[in-house]
């Protein structure tokens, strides 16, 4: 991670914490809308990897806020289209899943049943390992999609293959991971007063946003069918 990105992430942590109570105002004041704009145009000159890092933090802390739309909308100078929206949701989901995983681990290490912490039961360890692997897949897919957008200078059509892969993979992961998060939390995680739903609710919504499985499956399947079997491998390794 670059020095600049570390600083950006620290700022995002602080600003999004304020935004949790004050809304978009702190985000706008801190200038996050200029994240992707070139320095020559008075922007921050950030890349898509920077945006991914920032949106992970947004996904973990203020999952329901349209910070990604705000940033990408400024850069596009208009409405966020489906591929960009899909990338935004992947990045938010990467953060929200890691946060839900952290909450789940914290919970099973604290909550005792049958005389020991839940986390000491192999059955619990096994499902949380699955959760961690799914969260890892989303993080890697999101970072790789960001890298593809960087290579394409932000052109979503050029990076459509990677964006489609990342969104489909994320949708799959959300299904498994939210179920495990709730399962290991037991009844408390299903209540209004406990914060887990603030992550899992948006996560489940994001599977529908900017293209569900059927939509992206069709986009990607159409592309790959045209490439043919050997063509798919040639295409993947040329990226």
């Amino acid at each position: 991670m670059s020095e600049q990105r570390a600083l950006l992430c620290d700022t995002a942590e602080a600003v999004f914490a304020e935004a949790a109570t004050l809304g978009m105002a702190p985000v706008e004041e801190a200038g996050f809308g200029q994240l992707l704009l070139a320095e020559a145009d008075g922007g921050f000159g950030g890349d898509w990897g920077d945006l991914f890092a920032v949106l992970r933090i947004a996904g973990a802390n203020v999952p329901s806020m349209a910070i990604g739309e705000h940033i990408v909308g400024q850069w596009l100078g208009g409405e966020v289209t489906k591929p960009y929206g899909a990338f935004i949701r992947v990045a938010q989901a990467a953060g929200a899943m890691d946060a839900a995983l952290a909450m789940s681990i914290d919970y099973v290490n604290t909550r005792q049943q049958f005389g020991k912490p839940l986390g000491k039961f192999q059955a619990v360890q096994q499902v949380l390992a699955v959760f961690a692997v799914e969260a890892a897949a989303v993080n890697v897919a999101g970072a790789a999609a960001a890298a593809a957008l960087d290579r394409a200078a932000g052109d979503a059509e050029t990076a459509l293959f990677e964006i489609a892969c990342a969104k489909l993979r994320t949708n799959k992961a959300i299904g498994q991971a939210t179920a495990i998060a709730h399962q290991v939390h037991g009844a408390i995680g299903f209540t209004r007063e406990y914060d887990l739903h603030k992550l899992t609710g948006p996560l489940l919504d994001w599977r529908s946003d900017h293209g569900n499985d059927a939509y992206w499956g069709n986009v990607l399947g159409t592309k790959v069918a045209k490439l043919g079997g050997a063509g798919l491998w040639a295409d993947i390794t040329a990226r």
Binding site: D106, V130, L168, A238
Partner: protein
């Protein structure tokens, strides 16, 4: 909602030196010249000594070994590029696979000079094959329960005991075995690794036929087998640490999600350029999973090449890769009409893999053990 969120798996740049596109083209040209041998499902357990020799002659084995022992001093990530090309094509790489992947690096790192001179050149030529002696009756996932013994005598080391599930023992020249070298030692203490020539007097190999009717693994019996001192690998009593480090080499490679890539290729080819929506959906989902796995595997390989120890990440790749490969034939079966009488490429590969797939989450550490390693990484154990 302040949460302590770490990045669970950071992506790491996969950046091999040299002209990677040229290297891929070179491997693809080699593969094109060996066309009828390709398209093998579960291809890294299918051995073809002729193919392995040809690979060695072309300079694609022992890639990271020193030139003094017949290697090519290439970068580990160049080797990675070569093996993913071989696997994606379904090349029969089973004969030399274990020797090239784990035995050679281990001998290079810990082996005696005698062992290096004797074995490494043959591995680089694709003509010397090895097997791994870890499991025993009673010591499968609980590897520390190993009971085969090495007794130090005036003549040298004497090995007695039994190994089981030894892949390729019947076509290997040498076994790298983990055995108990300290009498009375327990668990993971007092273990050492030995290189055992498979033609040594006192060795009996018995085939175990798998449920697909194939002969890949074996029982191997040692009846007071005599080994010279140089056959011990590394320091006496350090076998456990060496063997577990060796396992990390075999967990995150492309073989964990590409060993049956030929089925995916056949699915796409059989579907044609404009399949129906359901098939498109399946192809899309499988592609997304394949691509993500590749990013994870590349990243882990780059970390290994940089000298890091990504034990948890490697386990994640293995777990996810196994699950993907294991589910693949049934996902194809659920959507594509392949009655048992159908006999084209797709149907043939699907049927072979439906039978082979249960082994995918057993070999190299069972799914439950691998998830235990991940859970430890999460701070749960």
């Amino acid at each position: 909602m302040a949460v302590n969120m770490q990045q669970s798996f950071s992506i790491y740049p996969f950046d091999p030196p040299g002209d990677v596109a040229a290297l891929r083209a070179e491997v693809r040209a080699f593969l094109a010249a060996h066309e009828p041998k390709l398209g093998v499902p579960n291809c890294w357990v299918v051995g073809d000594p002729e193919f392995s020799s040809a690979l060695g002659a072309a300079g694609f084995l022992g890639m990271i070994l020193p030139k003094t022992v017949g290697g090519h001093e290439r970068h580990p990530l160049e080797r990675y590029v070569v093996i993913e090309e071989l696997l994606a094509a379904g090349a029969p790489v089973g004969a030399h696979w274990i020797a090239d992947r784990q035995t050679a690096p281990l001998i290079l790192r810990y082996g005696s000079e005698e062992a290096k001179t004797r074995y490494l050149p043959g591995i680089c030529k694709g003509q010397l094959y090895t097997c791994i002696g870890l499991s025993e009756p009673g010591a499968g996932s609980d590897l520390a329960a190993v009971r085969t013994t090495a007794r130090y005598t005036l003549d040298g080391w004497r090995i007695s005991g039994q190994k089981i599930w030894t892949s390729g023992a019947h076509m290997s020249h040498v076994m790298l075995a983990l055995v108990r070298s300290e009498e009375g030692s327990e668990r993971n203490a007092g273990l050492s690794q030995f290189l055992i020539p498979m033609d040594a007097p006192g060795i009996t190999i018995r085939p175990i036929i798998d449920m697909g009717g194939d002969h890949h693994f074996n029982e191997v019996f040692f009846d007071d087998v005599l080994l010279p001192e140089w056959a011990m690998v590394g320091a006496r009593g350090q076998g456990w640490a060496q063997a577990t480090a060796e396992l990390a080499l075999e967990r995150s490679g492309p073989e964990r999600y590409l060993s049956s890539h030929v089925l995916m290729t056949a699915l796409i080819d059989a579907a044609g350029p404009d399949p129906d929506l359901q098939i498109k959906g399946l192809i899309g989902e499988l592609t997304a999973e394949l691509w993500t796995l590749r990013q994870m595997s590349l990243s882990t390989a780059a970390k290994l090449a940089a000298g890091e120890d990504p034990m948890v990440e490697a386990s994640m790749v293995k777990d996810l890769g196994n699950s993907f490969e294991q589910a693949l034939p049934q996902r194809v079966q659920a959507l594509v009409d392949c009655p048992s009488t159908r006999d084209d490429d797709l149907a043939r590969l699907m049927r072979a893999l439906l039978i082979a797939a249960p082994s995918f989450s057993l070999r190299g550490g069972t799914r439950e053990i691998i998830r235990g390693i991940i859970a430890r990484g999460l701070g749960l154990r």
